[in-house]
């Protein structure tokens, strides 16, 4: 299983946490597509606390954390 945690306005209309069944080749891009999150809304994509690319395959038991970009002053 892969646990996905969403932050800030990515939670709007979604849950705070979503679990995905693990399968070979599952990656960040698949998760975003399934959750209907456009890539431009994603600033930080962390897997087990480390910055990872969306293409990289995930492992069973991974925890994914997704944050949108915040840029106001």
């Amino acid at each position: 299983m892969i646990k996905v945690k969403l932050f800030a306005n990515l939670r709007e209309g979604r849950k705070k946490e979503v679990n995905f069944e693990f399968f070979e080749g599952i990656n960040g891009r698949y998760i975003l597509k399934t959750l209907n999150i456009p890539e431009k809304q994603v600033s930080i994509f962390l897997v087990n606390g480390r910055d990872k690319s969306l293409e990289e395959p995930l492992s069973n038991g991974d925890v994914v954390v997704i944050f949108p970009p915040v840029g106001g002053g």
Partner: protein, 228 residues
């Protein structure tokens, strides 16, 4: 002897530390939501020299959150109003208002000779160029950003490149859709000032290679490791 105005600082700072602040030069880039609060707090702390960089004038839409914006300051240059305010709070502080926007061509010149830079800018491309300029001159950058109920803070030391990692190819954040209320800039600015103080005084733990992500809607504070 310590001046009375700093007596209450002394429960937090030593006399030597208070003196050190008086000799410290800091740049505040942007004097809007974040920058206004930051300048106010730096002056009350006793930072001796503050360079405030902002080319804008106060508008009615700033009244909901920008601390130096009031009925009397509408239409006036933000950096000049900041100077006026600081003179009224702490005349010992030298405020140098710079009435231009930070750009690639002028960034290094503007920050040269300062001990640290506060990022209170409202544009991601400008935040990134400020990070580059700070890295080249080996000056620590204390970054803050806000959007709606949310905010973030990190302290970027030369080589960290935290903003380049966090923002990647983004040029706009969620602030365009979530706006900026009064409380989130105040929270983020306070954390930025605490980071600055620790950088100057070399004490405590700072958010180097770490991003503090603040969610005031759920009161969740996440400290995220960010490194190359």
């Amino acid at each position: 002897m310590i001046e009375k105005r700093y007596l209450k600082n002394l429960k937090t700072l030593s006399l030597e530390e208070q003196k050190k602040l008086k000799e410290t030069k800091v740049v505040v880039a942007g004097c809007g939501g974040l920058g206004g609060y930051v300048v106010e707090m730096l002056a009350r702390l006793g930072i001796g020299f503050i360079t405030v960089v902002d080319d804008e004038v106060f508008e009615e839409t700033n009244l909901n959150r920008q601390i130096f914006c009031d009925i009397n300051s509408l239409g006036k240059k933000k950096a000049l109003v900041a100077k006026e305010r600081i003179l009224a709070v702490n005349p010992e502080v030298a405020v140098n208002p710079i009435l231009i926007r930070i750009e690639e061509k002028n960034a290094k010149e503007l920050i040269t000779g300062h001990k640290a830079v506060i990022d209170a800018l409202d544009s991601i491309p400008h935040k990134i160029l400020l990070e580059k300029a700070c890295e080249e001159l080996k000056i620590p950058l204390i970054h803050g950003a806000v959007a709606g109920w949310y905010g973030q803070v990190t302290t970027v030391f030369p080589g960290d490149r935290t903003l380049s990692i966090v923002y990647k190819n983004h040029t706009e954040g969620i602030e365009k859709e979530l706006g900026a209320p009064s409380f989130s800039p105040a929270v983020v600015a306070g954390i930025q000032v605490s980071e600055l103080l620790k950088v100057i005084l070399k004490k405590g733990e700072v958010l180097s290679k770490k991003l503090l992500y603040i969610d005031l809607l759920n009161q969740e504070f996440q400290k995220i490791e960010v490194s190359l």
